[in-house]
Point group: C2
């Protein structure tokens, strides 16, 4: 199973962004979508969208409001921190429940060839991916990440002031050896959220809040990966040894709403 | 059949925009996608994307470069004019060929109950929709437009300085009676390209170039609809009598590529 964790901020393009993301994710088999709104409570807008999305029961709908940013300008602080942390807490519950259910199945006497009382739970299964609501995903990126053993990586289009940012792979050893990156090059793992997936086991074995509000913008990913990865050689390069772009860090333009004052839209129409 | 006409301009987000549009359109049954690049000739990038898209043979790939804009600033002139006109010319061929094939089937002696030599061609079938590459489409909008008799209309989210622009329907008569609009209100049909569909028959019955380079920005739609519609009452309101938003005029933010000079990306990597 691929667990996709998506923080989602309220705003005029939220429904549009989630609509096209849902339209992509609904086509991916064995995917569970965890959507965490930046709100005090889940909204009816997102609940209805998920209900209609064709994801059937393969989603969770949560909410937590971002803490007020006390110091420094907003653009310098990381986004979606509390939301992703809540998503990770929920993911741990889902993965543990699935592992317990798998162990139960193993112990069940109805099943032939079972080894009774062998273990309380099975090994955690699944892969975790953090998918922002306004990025663009080629369906193939999910088939790449599905076979992640530990931590897999691939390039991301249109990010960090470049056409793409990404791992550079040595073709002889097939290992990541450095990074193509311009912005904040001093980061240990200079990679966008959209450029890696992590085996679910890691989130079970490493408890606590894995993302911190005090990480500066651009450092969330690096700090998270540093928990699980010591050397570049541990990274599993995907997408044709990191030579194909399968995800883009697109951003939806902030809308012009300058006519609303003179010609207010019907607030009962959900946009 | 729904014929979707999409002009597409080269640029750093073109592949991302077409990727997510293809991901939506591939899920719509009985849809033929006509993509017209703003280029002297079709590119390998778009050809490969369409090939992979899962649209199978239900697409056409064309190209025509926009004329240089001689007078006035670029933002004042309409976009995608030559591309949509070429798309319409191609559409006419597709529709005529389909009508001829249907007539052929009718005349065929293998088919019981046929009336031989009745007519050279069948009536043109199909509905035409102009879908820009960076808009957001709810899959339901295609099922709404599919049953267009003449010209159907519905509201569009995030456009014209408003949360949504759209037809206002009188609930007693179920007819369009006016428009909710702020920007360029004086237009006869103040509606975005994404907010209407037209029966294919109209494009066969009205020859020539239907869009003009001399239409000011925002007037392409109005001038096109004025060819086919005399009174508001002729319009067929869709999407719950124009009360539900099923399409959004989102725009993809222009990317920051400021690091490319210092850290050039590999030009062989297609983004
Ligand atoms: O205050 C915020 C800002 C952003 N987000 C979400 O966090 C993710 C990353 O935000 P954004 O796309 O604005 O970041 P950027 O494009 O700059 O990486 C998106 O899924 C947003 O919906 C959030 O939950 N709260
Ligand atoms: O010079 C241009 C500008 C735009 N387009 C295409 O025309 C449509 C409308 O353009 P755009 O999205 O920039 O317009 P807006 O969002 O302002 O309506 C899109 O599908 C573009 O890819 C084009 O073919 N040539
Ligand atoms: Mn984003
Ligand atoms: Mn557009």
């Amino acid at each position: 199973v691929i667990y996709v964790i998506t923080p989602s901020k309220p705003g005029p393009t939220q429904k549009a962004d989630l609509t096209r993301l849902a339209s992509t994710l609904r086509q991916v088999p064995a995917l569970h979508w965890i959507v965490i709104e930046d709100q005090p409570a889940p909204t009816a807008l997102v609940a209805a969208l998920l209900e209609r999305s064709g994801m059937r029961n393969s989603y969770s709908h949560l909410a937590v409001q971002s803490e007020a940013v006390s110091a420094g300008p907003r653009y310098k602080t990381a986004r979606g921190v509390e939301q992703r942390n809540l998503g990770i807490a929920h993911l741990r519950e889902l993965v543990s429940a699935a592992a317990a259910a798998a162990a139960q199945l193993k112990r069940s006497p109805q099943r032939p060839g079972d080894q009774q009382g062998e273990s309380e739970t099975s090994a955690p299964e699944g892969v975790v991916y953090f998918a922002d609501d306004d990025n663009t995903y080629d369906l193939r990126v999910f088939e790449e990440m599905r076979f992640t053993q530990h931590v897999s990586v691939w390039p991301v289009g249109i990010v960090g002031g470049l056409m793409y940012e990404g791992p550079v792979v040595d073709l002889a050893t097939r290992r990541v050896v450095r990074w193509h990156v311009g912005w904040k090059k001093q980061r240990q793992f200079p990679i966008d959220m959209a450029g890696f997936a992590i085996h679910a086991r890691n989130f079970i074995n490493t408890p606590g809040e894995l993302l911190s509000r005090s990480s500066p913008r651009g450092y969330l990913e690096s700090h998270l990966l540093a928990r699980f990865v010591r050397q570049l050689a541990q990274l599993e390069p995907k997408a044709d040894l990191c030579s194909t772009i399968l995800v883009w860090h697109t951003r939806t333009e902030a809308p012009d709403l300058s006519q609303e004052e003179a010609h207010p839209s019907d607030p009962l129409v959900e946009v």
